[in-house]
C-alpha cells in the first residue's frame, strides 16, 4: 500500500493537551468520512435511528486493541449490530480511506483489519496528523462484500478511535448497494439531540437531505427544503421571502437571527 496525504504535515510545536481534554466529554477526535463509515452513515441520515452517535460520529474512542466496530463501547453498540444491513459502498480494488480529524492527536499509527486479519498499517510517526488524512489500501485479495475495521491509534494516550466501513470490493466505483434489502424495521432509538437547552419553538421537522425537494409555491416553512431566492413561506403567522438560496436546516427558520436568508414581508 502507499500513503497519500491531502495536506502537508503540520509541524506546530504545541503539545496536545490530552490531560485537559479528557475533562470534557464531547471533545472530539476522528472517523472515516469516505467511503462512509457506519458512524458517517448514521450522521448523514443514510441509516436511521442510530441514537447519539449520529451527533458525534467522531467519538468512537476506546482502549487500543479492540476489534469490534464500536470499540467495545456499549454506548455505540449500534455500530456493531450486523442486523442493521449496513449498505456496502461499491469500490475498486485500491480503496482510498478519508479520515476527518476534529482533534489532531499525536498518532502512533493507523491500522486496517478485515475479519480480524490486519491488511495495512500506516505509521503516524508520533506526529500530529493533518485535519484530513487519506490512505490508499490495496484490497484486491478481499473481493466482494467486506467490513473493514479502521483504527487510529493515538500516540500519547492509551486510546484509539474505531470506524467500520462496509464495502463491495471490486464492484466498481461509485454507487452504494445494500447487499440485502432490510426485511424488518430497525429498532427505534432516540433521535432527538441531547442537551437541547432552549428548545426550538416548533417541533423538529424532517431531516434535511442534499437532494431536498423544491419549495411549494407558497406554504409553511419546513426543514429539508431547497428554497430559491424569491420563494415565499409562512412561519408562525408571518410571511417571509427567501433572499439567499439554501437547503433549509434546523435553526435556519425565519427569525431575527436569519435575516440573511429570510426577509420579513
Amino acid at each position: 500500500m502507499r500513503r497519500s496525504i491531502a495536506y502537508p504535515l503540520v509541524t506546530l510545536g504545541a503539545i496536545v493537551g490530552s490531560a485537559a481534554v479528557v475533562a470534557s466529554p464531547a471533545l472530539a477526535h476522528g472517523y472515516v468520512s469516505a467511503p462512509p463509515s457506519r458512524q458517517a452513515l448514521c450522521a448523514s441520515g443514510a441509516v436511521k435511528d442510530c441514537g447519539q452517535i449520529q451527533f458525534e460520529p467522531q467519538s468512537v474512542e476506546a482502549p487500543k486493541g479492540q476489534r469490534s466496530c464500536n470499540g467495545g463501547v456499549a454506548q455505540w453498540s449500534v455500530l456493531a449490530d450486523e442486523s442493521r444491513n449496513w449498505p456496502a459502498k461499491a469500490v475498486g480494488k485500491n480503496v482510498t480511506f478519508t479520515w476527518v480529524m476534529t482533534a489532531r492527536h499525536r498518532t502512533s499509527n493507523w491500522e486496517y483489519f478485515i475479519g480480524g486479519k490486519k491488511v495495512a498499517t500506516v505509521d503516524g510517526g508520533n506526529q500530529q496528523p493533518d485535519a484530513v488524512v487519506t490512505h490508499t489500501v490495496d484490497l484486491s485479495a478481499f473481493p466482494g462484500r467486506q467490513t473493514v475495521l479502521a483504527v487510529w491509534n493515538i500516540g500519547d494516550t492509551v486510546n484509539a478511535f474505531y470506524s467500520c466501513i462496509d464495502l463491495n470490493v471490486g464492484g466498481g466505483g461509485g454507487s452504494t448497494t445494500p447487499t440485502t434489502p432490510p426485511t424488518t424495521a430497525p429498532t427505534k432509538a432516540p433521535t432527538t439531540p441531547p442537551t437541547s437547552k432552549p428548545a426550538p419553538t416548533t417541533p423538529a421537522p424532517a431531516v434535511p437531505t442534499t437532494t431536498a425537494p423544491a419549495a411549494p409555491a407558497s406554504g409553511s416553512w419546513a426543514a429539508g427544503v431547497a428554497y430559491k431566492t424569491g420563494d415565499v413561506v409562512s412561519y408562525e403567522g408571518k410571511k417571509y421571502k427567501c433572499r439567499q438560496a439554501h437547503s433549509s436546516i434546523h435553526s435556519w427558520e425565519p427569525s431575527i437571527y436569519t435575516l440573511a436568508l429570510w426577509l420579513p414581508l
Binding site: 495536506y7 472530539a28 462512509p36 476527518v100 485535519a131 437531505t209 426543514a223 437547503s247 435556519w252
Partner: protein, 193 residues
C-alpha cells in the same frame, strides 16, 4: 447586515429575543442592532464568542473559496448560505463583545487553544492547502475539511452550554449546534454521492 433595511415587528422581536420592551416601536435595520446580549456574562461567554469570531472568520475564508471553486451547484449553494448566515453571526458576536467592553479578537490563533477542546481541525496550513486544490480534488478537500471545522463549532457550543451564563450567548450556541449538525449531515451525503 449592511445590505439589509427592513422593519421587523415587535411580535417577532419579543418572540425572538424576549428582551427590551423599549424596542417595540423601533424600526429594525439589522439583527445586531436589536439582539443585545444583556444580563450577566462570565469568562466562558467571552472566550466562547472570541473563539467563535475567529472560527467563523476561518470558516468564511473556506466557504468563499468553495463559492468560486466547487463544481456542484449544491455545494456552492451551501457555501453561499453559510457565508450569508455566518457573516451576520460574526457581526452579532462582535457587537456583543463590544457591548461587554471585551476585545473581539483572541490574542492567539484558535489552533493554539489545545486546552479548550482539543486541537481544532483547521489551521492556516489547511486553508493554504485548500487554496491550492483544484477541480474535483478541491471539492473533496473542502467538504472533508469543513465537516471537521463544523464539528469543532459543535464542540465549542457544548462548552458554552455547559459553562456559559449569558442567555443570548447560550441560545446562540444552541443554534450553532443545530445548524452545524445539519450542515455536517448534508456534507457527508455530498462527500459520498
Amino acid at each position: 447586515m449592511k445590505r439589509l433595511v427592513v422593519a421587523v415587528s415587535a411580535v417577532l422581536l419579543l418572540s425572538a429575543c424576549g428582551t427590551a420592551p423599549q424596542t417595540q416601536a423601533t424600526q429594525v435595520t439589522d439583527a445586531k442592532a436589536v439582539v443585545q446580549a444583556e444580563g450577566e456574562h462570565n469568562d466562558t461567554d467571552v472566550m466562547y464568542l472570541q473563539m467563535m469570531v475567529a472560527h467563523h472568520e476561518q470558516g468564511l475564508e473556506m466557504v468563499r473559496l468553495a463559492e468560486k471553486s466547487a463544481k456542484r451547484d449544491e455545494v456552492k449553494t451551501l457555501a453561499k448560505a453559510v457565508d450569508a448566515t455566518q457573516s451576520d453571526e460574526v457581526a452579532m458576536m462582535k457587537s456583543w463583545l463590544t457591548s461587554w467592553k471585551q476585545p473581539t479578537t483572541v490574542d492567539h490563533a484558535p489552533s493554539a487553544h489545545a486546552d479548550h477542546g482539543g486541537l481544532p481541525a483547521t489551521g492556516p496550513e489547511e486553508i493554504a492547502a485548500l487554496r491550492k486544490a483544484k477541480g474535483k480534488a478541491f471539492e473533496t478537500a473542502f467538504l472533508n475539511l469543513f465537516v471537521a471545522h463544523q464539528h469543532n463549532a459543535v464542540e465549542m457550543a457544548n462548552l458554552e452550554a455547559a459553562d456559559g451564563v449569558n442567555a443570548e450567548a447560550k441560545a446562540f450556541a444552541e443554534r450553532v449546534k443545530l445548524s452545524r449538525t445539519d450542515q455536517i449531515k448534508q456534507m457527508l451525503t455530498m462527500i459520498n454521492n
